[in-house]
Symmetry: C2
Subunit: 200 residues, 2 copies
């Protein structure tokens, strides 16, 4: 893998990931969620779709072997390695209204939605085109009555997921800012990119 880059707590970044390249996202301290978005680098109107992915993969438990699909029904990313096995693709990135709704925070505070928007601005991706993210390490439980609860991630220190890009992508990636998602402690996220040297 390439150089390890740090995403400080409650912040976000964006970068290009070329077709065939591998993206490793890790959770050095454990129990920390990373919201990930993807847009087709050649057509920003094509982006990650939880609806298409859940339809085609027929499971809420997306892990090694699963593909993440776009709103145009194309595979964008494939999970090729996953030491954690528990992620979420139901819930939208936390935003100011989330902070008000769940935490009664009225003022300024970091959110994944704002961090993604700020990071994706350099690629001219506007807020409305930021989809529901793939929430790496997020522990969302569905009860028997179908109620949804956000619980502390099961990710241990050093757990990681490796994604392979199925097309040229613009990736947005955060260290999530919502307390309940991270066991009420905000930690960093690390990532690295590696080119596949054979067989692509």
């Amino acid at each position: 893998m390439g150089k390890v880059i740090n995403i400080p707590p409650q912040s976000g970044t964006a970068f290009l990931l070329n077709k065939g390249e591998l993206l490793k996202v890790s959770c050095p301290l454990g129990e920390q969620v990373a919201d990930m978005t993807a847009h087709n680098a050649l057509d920003k109107m094509e982006f990650l779709s939880n609806g298409k992915t859940l339809d085609f993969e027929e499971t809420l438990r997306l892990t090694q072997g699963s593909k993440l699909y776009s709103n145009q029904s194309n595979p964008m990313l494939e999970i090729v390695e996953d030491t954690c096995g528990l992620h979420d693709f139901l819930l939208a990135p936390c935003c100011k209204q989330t902070m008000k709704h769940f935490y009664n925070i009225d003022g300024e505070c970091p959110t994944c939605a704002d961090n993604l928007q700020n990071a994706l601005e350099k690629y001219n991706i506007e807020r409305a085109l930021i989809p529901t993210a793939f929430n790496i390490f997020m522990n969302v439980q569905i009860a028997e009555d179908m109620t949804i609860s956000v619980q502390k991630p099961i990710a241990k220190p050093g757990d990681f997921v490796v994604f392979k890009a199925c097309m040229d992508l613009i990736i947005g990636l955060t260290a999530c800012s919502a307390g309940a998602s991270n066991g009420y402690s905000f930690k960093n996220i690390e990532y690295s990119i590696d080119k596949v040297t054979a067989g692509v």
Copy 2:
């Protein structure tokens, strides 16, 4: 309620629904899904979001009392009456790739994605801005291992849902074209609109 309008099997339509108006969607023959989308009539970049809705409502079982939220975290529609109680907000509208993936159909065939696109064209809403629909009467079951299965709707003949518009909306609505969603028989959907005469 206003005049009852028929949506023939495997087709779709689009119309305006003003703030405070009620939309009744019914299933005259039972066991038929209707995919519904919503865009803010004054800002087409604001549209229905399953991620925001599932986050704020904290359940997969959206029924009477539930609100459907936009990608900008605003309530778009409220379910004010529901005789069925079982709908889906996980799976994207069926499209050509769905027909290939699940039914091995290669050629032309009606799909909700195409029907929504054609119907929403008159409002200048492009394909990429058509979100995962709220799938009225769709019976999507989550097994204990979190696998997803599409089953025959439990909706009986005459079952209906009434939605109240929380803002001026452009609604897209189909009689769904995917076999598995409708018990392998394609039926019509009916809708009517009524103004609220007091208390709005």
